[in-house]
């Protein structure tokens, strides 16, 4: 804030310095008033200094004047110093000493300048006296006032004027002659003197005021400048502080960078790798160290290619170009210069160094991997040796397998034949034991063979499209009898959104599933086995998860870790109790992994286990063509009666998918209650799905109860059973059931058809004569086989006998040949409906014989079925390649032979071909 103008008025004069304002350098906190006070004080001090000199000069001048004008006073011839001289010295001195002293010791004080005013006017009076009252000396008064105006303080002028006035008044009254030069002064003369003084005072006061205003204005200007300067200074200081902070920060940063650089330099220079930076042309710009024998100065600037094996230069040059172009890291291994001139191998990483996003150079880190390379080479050699050994082992196992399977074929086959003959109970039991032992031994051999092939990396998998559901259903069907024997149920469930089409080896999938199902049944005493197929949510790739859950004994936590190891079961007692080689899971795991999937399990001891595996490569497919539509079931209400929750859940999900209203009951009693309640409510169930095996009241009992109740008689009944016996269907149909479906494979289409037909039965206009068609349970083929003439080519006598017996059972006329050459001769003589050809025979093996037969049989192609103990895919392919049509694995089974004949040797089959 700028202070208002001071209220005091002072007389100003420009006698010393017009508008003189001392060059003050006010602090930022000073106000305009402060500045003005300081300027004023400076003016006062200047005035004091002026009068310090002026008073002295006047004193001297007075003395000189006295000495000149009246040096001496005379008395006759005598003279003495004139009184005026004394007056000039002492009175004049009196006028100036005190003011001068004050000017010297107390400059700028009020009393000083007022003393100066008194002394100065005293000099005027003295001068007038010394000049004998010359009227001209009165001008000294005016001059004195003008000089006093240098103070720019009107009060000083007032003091001086007062002294002058006092002098004039006093002397005018009592000594007019001394002041006016006349004996008697006229009052007007007094007035005239006073008027001149007052006039000058007015002029001087006005001048002082103007001068002080100017001072004030200058102070204001100074203040503004000071403010601006202070502001600027503050900004400068702030900026200076900022710059200092920035500099300090920069210094810290530079220190940190230097430290960091030192660290990295230490790391780089102590690194065992060779670290280089190179330019686009491959010139080395930096290197942390060089090989002994090389000079760093020589290496710097030279192309990196000088140190690389000649055959790798172009590849590295290409990699360098790629790094500079793409800005991506490249890794490679290259041989180059090494210690003592011995070439070394380097694992190199080439990365870009970017500046402003542009690759300006590249960093090359090369680690000496010569030792590793040598170790790898040794390992490779060792591996090849091991592989050779493994191959030999596998071949040995395959051979052994073949050699063991051939006699086992005879043992099991003839035991089967023996069991078809009349035997005493003991003999039947012995024969049965022989067969089961043989089958167990064969299973063990098969497991060992599989595992050895997997270990030898000889397992070859098929890679063809297949549908998963039939594979699972077949496996479940195969194992259902085993489950049924233990009173277990196998429940299948497949999410509707699960892709069913896959690419892979369905046989191996079935093998895994059979193994898991077999284990589940083996280790479950009661409850059920649940097979679930769903999309694998834990995998990043599209895959399907197949899980087999049981309610068995589970696996203790401490045994779980070693479960997938070969020849391992939960413990040794398990093997003794449940049998098995312990290879099943190991084989399954490896099969799953070979097919690109995973395998695992969760288990709680005493509560059951869930084993799962995943299958990759599902094929995107639309809704399966076989997916049944349930448009005809609108308005049909269904009740599910099953004691097993999983069974109920599977059926409920299926019905829910079809949009069929349904309810469920866990027992026959609850079912009856709900059926009757629904009838009473006027919303009867149209169809009841009844489980056969239920505690207290099984499905058949419930059906009969429903038939007895008139209110429930109209509800159609469908029986779902895990086991079926001959005559079950007829008995149940007679009991009022409209359909009979076997578990575990309750195919949706079949279920839909059964419900649809049953629903039609209960429709209001149901024709009584219409009987439902019943899905037939799987029964052995009952039709008598067609007579065929077949040629059996087999060198092993046991196999010959076995196969001949089986074929004769299948109504075949069998001709025997012991080797391929003999077979060719027989084919030339007779037209056979089918040839069963052993592959490995002396003289001429099956492959060669087949080729020859194919060459002969130009007019008619006779089916040739290979009989082989080799189950490797390569062998099968070799059979097909040789011109055979199919193959049967040894040991021979009657069913296998029958299916082959039905497929290849049925009347018309040849014609179709």
């Amino acid at each position: 804030m700028i202070a208002s103008s001071p209220g005091i008025l002072t007389v100003s004069s420009d006698a010393i310095r017009p508008n003189a304002v001392p060059a003050v350098d006010p602090p930022a906190s000073a106000s305009v008033t402060d500045l003005f006070r300081r300027s004023e004080q400076s003016v006062y001090r200047q005035g004091d200094r002026l009068f310090l000199v002026l008073l002295g000069l006047q004193w001297i001048a007075g003395i000189v004047l006295a000495l000149t004008a009246s040096p001496r006073s005379w008395a006759g011839a005598s003279s003495q110093v004139h009184t005026h001289v004394y007056a000039a010295i002492f009175l004049g001195g009196l006028c100036c000493w005190v003011p001068m002293a004050l000017c010297f010791w107390r400059p700028g004080e009020v009393v000083t300048r007022h003393a100066v005013a008194i002394g100065q006017t005293g000099f005027s009076a003295l001068l007038i006296h010394l000049t004998m009252s010359r009227i001209e000396t009165h001008f000294h008064v005016f001059g004195s006032l003008a000089f006093l105006a240098c103070y720019r303080d009107w009060r000083v002028l007032a003091t001086a004027t007062a002294v002058v006035a006092l002098d004039h008044v006093v002397r005018g009254i009592w000594f007019p002659l001394s002041v006016y030069g006349v004996l008697t002064a006229s009052p007007w003369r007094v007035v005239e003197h006073a008027a001149w003084v007052v006039f000058e005072d007015i002029v001087l006061v006005w001048s002082c005021r103007v001068s002080r205003r100017e001072m004030w204005r200058i102070c204001e200007e100074q203040y503004r400048n000071a403010c601006l300067r202070d502001g600027l200074e503050v900004k400068v200081q702030e900026r200076t502080r900022e710059l200092q902070a920035e500099i300090a920060e920069r210094q810290r940063t530079e220190t940190a960078i230097r430290a960091s650089e030192e660290r990295y330099r230490a790391v780089v220079e102590s690194a065992p790798e060779f670290i280089n930076t190179i330019d686009r042309e491959g010139r080395i710009l930096f290197v942390n160290r060089v090989l002994p024998g090389f000079e760093k100065a020589h290496v710097l600037g030279s192309p990196i290619y000088n140190y690389i094996a000649a055959d790798s230069v172009e590849r590295v040059r290409q990699l360098v170009a790629e790094v500079f172009e793409s800005g991506e890291v490249r890794t490679y291994e290259v041989s180059g210069a090494g210690l003592h001139g011995v070439p070394a191998w380097y694992a190199s990483t080439l990365g870009p160094i970017k500046t402003d996003g542009r690759v300006t150079s590249a960093i090359l880190i090369a680690a000496d991997i010569t030792a590793r390379k040598l170790a790898e080479e040794e390992l490779l050699n060792a591996k090849e040796t091991a592989d050779a050994g493994n191959r030999a082992k596998s071949e040995f196992l395959a051979t052994m397998s073949h050699e063991i399977r051939t006699p086992m074929n005879g043992v099991i086959g003839f035991t089967n034949l023996l069991l078809d003959t009349p035997l005493s109970p003991d003999q039947h039991e012995f024969a049965t034991t022989i067969r089961s032992s043989g089958q167990s031994l064969l299973a063990i051999i098969n497991d060992i063979l599989d595992f050895s092939k997997i270990e030898a990396n000889k397992l070859e998998l098929e890679n063809c499209p297949y549908a998963l559901r039939p594979v699972i259903e077949e496996a479940a069907e195969l194992m259902s009898r085993e489950a049924e024997k233990k009173g277990l149920e196998i429940v299948l469930h497949q999410d509707q959104d699960t892709p069913d089409n896959l690419i892979g080896d369905p046989g191996r999938v079935r093998q895994i599933l059979l193994n898991l199902l077999s284990n589940a049944i083996k280790f479950t005493e009661q409850g059920h086995v649940f097979v679930n197929v769903s999309v694998d949510s834990g995998s990043s790739l599209p895959s399907i998860r197949v899980s087999v859950s049981d309610t068995g004994i589970g696996i203790p936590a401490d045994k779980q870790a070693s479960l997938f190891q070969k020849f391992t079961q939960a413990d040794a007692s398990t093997t003794r109790r449940f049998g098995g080689t312990g290879l099943g899971l190991a084989i399954s795991l490896r099969l799953a992994e070979r097919m690109g999937g995973r395998m695992g399990f969760e288990s709680t001891s005493g509560k059951g286990s869930t084993f799962w595996f995943t299958l990759c490569r599902p094929v995107e497919a639309p809704v399966p063509a076989g997916l049944p539509r349930a448009d005809g079931l609108r308005g049909v209400r269904v009740i599910i009666v099953d004691d097993l929750e999983v069974n109920r859940r599977v059926l409920r999900e299926q019905l829910k998918l079809w949009g069929v209203p349904h309810d469920w009951a866990a027992s026959g009693a609850e079912a009856l209650q709900k059926l009757r309640g629904a009838h009473t409510a006027g919303q009867p169930f149209h169809v009841a799905l009844l489980d056969y095996l239920m505690p207290e009241m099984d499905g058949e009992m419930l059906g009969r109860e429903m038939q007895r109740d008139p209110a429930l008689r109209s509800t159609a009944m469908i029986m779902l059973t895990s086991g079926s016996q001959r005559g079950d269907a007829q008995r149940l149909l007679a009991a009022g059931f409209s359909a009979y479906l076997t578990k575990p494979v309750v195919r949706p289409a079949l279920l839909l058809e059964a419900i649809s037909r049953a629903a039609n039965l209960v429709a209001p206009a149901r024709p009584a004569a219409v009987r439902p068609s019943v899905a037939q349970p799987p029964v052995p083929p009952g039709a008598p086989p067609v007579h065929r003439r077949v040629l059996l080519v087999e060198d092993n006598r046991t196999n010959q006998l076995l196969a001949e017996l089986f074929l004769k059972k299948l109504n075949c006329t069998v001709d025997l040949a012991s080797d391929g050459r003999e077979a060719i001769g027989m084919v030339r003589q007779l037209p056979y409906d089918c040839i069963f050809m052993d592959c490995q025979m002396p003289e001429m093996d099956g492959f060669e014989a087949t080729l020859e037969i194919r060459r002969l049989g130009a007019d008619r192609r006779v089916p040739i079925i290979a009989l082989t103990a080799d189950v490797m895919a390569a062998d099968r392919e070799r059979c097909i390649a040789a011109g055979m049509d199919d193959y049967i694995s040894k040991p021979l089974h009657l069913d296998d032979l029958r299916r082959a004949l039905e497929r290849w040797a049925m009347p018309g089959a040849m014609g179709a071909r």
Partner: protein, 205 residues
């Protein structure tokens, strides 16, 4: 004044010693000036002039004319004021008298002792100069103080004696100058004398 007094009082309150000094200083100044005034206003000792001029002096040169005799000490600082006033008086009454200036010269001193600006100025006034060796002539006339004027009328009788300056060395109107002027104009006056301000001619007693 009240305002100035308040400022002074304020400063003085701050320093009583300074106030005391200033008070003494002002008092001394006043006293000094009073002494100086008093010196200025102090005439020479009163003198009784001779009633007639000594006839051997041959004055007046033209019989029947009044004669004005002034005794001067040529080195007295006041003498120039007296000569100046004499010239101013004579200018107001021209040719009213003969003027004779007695210039003191110590015995034994050459005449050149009196030379200086004063004789020249006297000559300008038309007066005759007589060297008054050792002040004997002035003594015969009874003049003791430089600047003393004695006017003898046409009859040769003393009609005025005294100084013609108002104080020491003071130019301007004075009591003696006025009386002398009227006498030279032939006017009457009741005054015949005035104090004389100047140095002693006769030496210190």
């Amino acid at each position: 004044m009240v305002f100035i007094g308040s400022i002074l009082t304020r400063d003085l309150r701050r320093n009583l010693k300074l106030g005391l000094v200033l008070g003494l200083w002002v008092a001394a100044l006043g006293a000094g000036f009073l002494l100086l005034i008093r010196y200025q206003q102090t005439p020479g000792p009163p003198a009784l002039a001779r009633k007639r001029l000594p006839p051997e002096w041959g004055l007046p040169a033209q019989p029947g004319r009044p004669v004005l005799v002034m005794a001067l000490h040529p080195r007295c600082p006041c003498s120039r004021a007296s000569v100046s006033e004499l010239g101013r008086i004579l200018s107001r009454a021209p040719n009213a008298c003969e003027v004779c200036i007695l210039l003191y010269k110590p015995a034994g001193e050459p005449d050149a002792w009196v030379e200086g600006p004063l004789p020249d100025e006297v000559r300008l006034q038309g007066g005759s100069i007589r060297i008054d060796a050792d002040g004997s002539m002035a003594g015969r006339l009874g003049a003791t103080t430089s600047g003393q004027v004695m006017l003898y009328d046409a009859a040769g009788l003393l009609c005025f004696e005294g100084g013609i300056t108002a104080s020491r060395g003071h130019r301007g109107d004075s009591l003696g100058g006025g009386v002398l002027t009227r006498l030279l104009r032939g006017e009457t006056t009741d005054k015949s004398g005035s104090p004389v301000f100047g140095c002693s001619i006769q030496g210190y007693p």
